[in-house]
């Protein structure tokens, strides 16, 4: 670490100390305390949400009086490919969420057919930040007003030369979104809708922008879940995506899922996902399983 790195680290440490000291002064802050499942789970980009969609809920088990965190591992098995995502995040005072995820798109045997070589992978690093702007999905039960959050995701793909060769404009880009999530306890329902400005091709695995469109597109993510108990939810999700590359059409993604809180700290999500056609291989449908630890 150079001098500027040490300065930045010292400044960050001082900042954290100030924030925590301020909180401690106002009232004792603590770990944990959030109601089961109300942190959501970690989605494919490592952000708090459902499986494919991003929600307005803040990750981690903390309440507004504390700090929390989350670690997740996700695997998607498709006919021609597989996807692995490892992520982690911190939640500050149930207000701000910062996440990092490493996502791998593994072409497996299909890599040879695409001329990339067997087992060729596309990897991306995703840095996310989300802030809750208004509303409270859990406690505001007497109004229709949802919890609303806005966020950014910076995605950097490690295969710049190849994604440009298939027509993409960039190997790194920023998504911007606004999410609204409502828990309707008297109906045992969780509803969420997100609008995202993005240029990502296949979540960014095939780069950003392309020969068909270079511009940001407004895309939609929607989730509906039914709470069978306080710890068990079933639901479905939809996520539209841009279609920027002429070599292979890209369609919307769907899933049906079940999420279960095994303990206060551990939850599992299993889903059947339909990611449509990916890089000329049609009908990529398969199993999604994700394990999350929250603290």
């Amino acid at each position: 670490m150079g001098f500027s790195g040490r300065m930045a680290a010292a400044a960050l440490a001082a900042g954290v100390a100030l924030v925590t000291a301020g909180a401690a002064e106002a009232h004792e802050w603590q770990w944990g305390g959030k109601l089961d499942l109300t942190r959501g789970v970690a989605n494919v980009e490592g952000a708090g949400g459902g499986g494919l969609a991003t929600w307005a809920l803040i990750t981690g088990n903390e309440t507004r009086d504390g700090i929390g965190g989350e670690l997740s591992a996700t695997y998607i098995n498709l006919p021609a490919y597989s996807v692995r995502v490892f992520g982690g995040g911190v939640g500050l005072f149930d207000r701000v969420e910062a996440t990092v995820a490493r996502a791998t798109f593994d072409t497996g045997a299909t890599g040879a057919k695409l001329g990339l070589g067997r087992g060729f992978t596309f990897d991306q690093t995703i840095l996310g930040a989300k802030v809750r702007l208004l509303g409270d999905a859990v406690y505001d039960q007497s109004t229709w007003l949802p919890q609303v959050a806005a966020g950014l995701q910076y995605k950097a793909n490690d295969r710049g030369a190849i994604v440009r060769a298939v027509g993409a404009d960039h190997d790194a880009d920023v998504d911007v979104y606004i999410a609204a999530t409502k828990i309707l306890l008297d109906q045992s329902l969780v509803l969420s809708a997100t609008a995202r400005a993005t240029r990502a091709n296949q979540f960014g695995f095939l780069g950003f922008g392309g020969d068909r469109s270079r511009a940001y597109a407004a895309e939609f993510e929607g989730s509906a879940a039914y709470l069978l108990t306080a710890k068990l939810a079933v639901g479905a999700e939809y996520r539209s995506k841009p279609d920027n590359l002429s070599f292979a059409r890209e369609a919307a993604a769907f899933d049906v899922f079940v999420a279960y809180a095994l303990t206060r700290n551990l939850s599992v999500t299993a889903a059947y996902v339909d990611l449509g056609d990916i890089a000329t291989f049609r009908g990529q449908r398969g199993a999604y399983v994700s394990l999350q630890a929250g603290f």
Partner: protein
């Protein structure tokens, strides 16, 4: 010996179980103090198994609050006789049962308690557990919890003053 005299003797002998409530300063009594409007019909009350079910849920909830590490300190010096009676009234009234709430309003009842969200959430989870033990379906639990969730600002924020 007449039966009524026998009952009185038993009552005196059994001591703490029938301890009287501690006196409180007078306050205006009203169902509005319950902090939530009741359901318009008694389906939720029936799903809680009526007054007997509400009594079992309340007794179990109080035991959980006494032993839950998140709440045990808060309830250490509580008047459990009064808490049991007013919680029975609260649940019965809000669930649409034939009861009136005679307790203090939520702000007054939690004044100076220094509560945080973690304590409110602990009570919600302990109430869920007590209702599950009573065999109340989740769907009904969620409808009742929706009524109580809205009290969070009155319970938690007011307790800081």
């Amino acid at each position: 010996m007449k039966p009524s005299a026998l009952a009185l003797l038993v009552a005196i002998a059994s001591g703490p179980a029938l301890a009287a409530e501690q006196p409180v300063a007078p306050y205006p009594q009203s169902d509005a103090n319950a902090g939530a409007a009741p359901f318009k019909d008694d389906r939720v009350f029936q799903a809680l198994h009526g007054k007997a079910g509400v009594a079992r849920i309340t007794a179990d909830l109080i035991e959980r609050l006494k032993t839950d590490s998140r709440t045990s300190d808060i309830f250490r010096a509580a008047d459990f006789e009064r808490l049991d009676r007013t919680l029975n009234e609260e649940f019965c009234y809000v669930a649409g049962g034939p009861c009136h709430y005679s307790g203090m309003d939520m702000k007054t009842a939690h004044k100076h308690m220094g509560l945080q969200e973690i304590h409110f959430n602990a009570l919600v989870e302990d109430l869920e557990a007590a209702m599950t033990k009573e065999g109340v379906p989740w769907r009904v639990q969620a409808r009742l919890l929706a009524k109580f969730a809205t009290m969070k600002p009155e319970v938690v924020d007011a307790s800081r003053n």
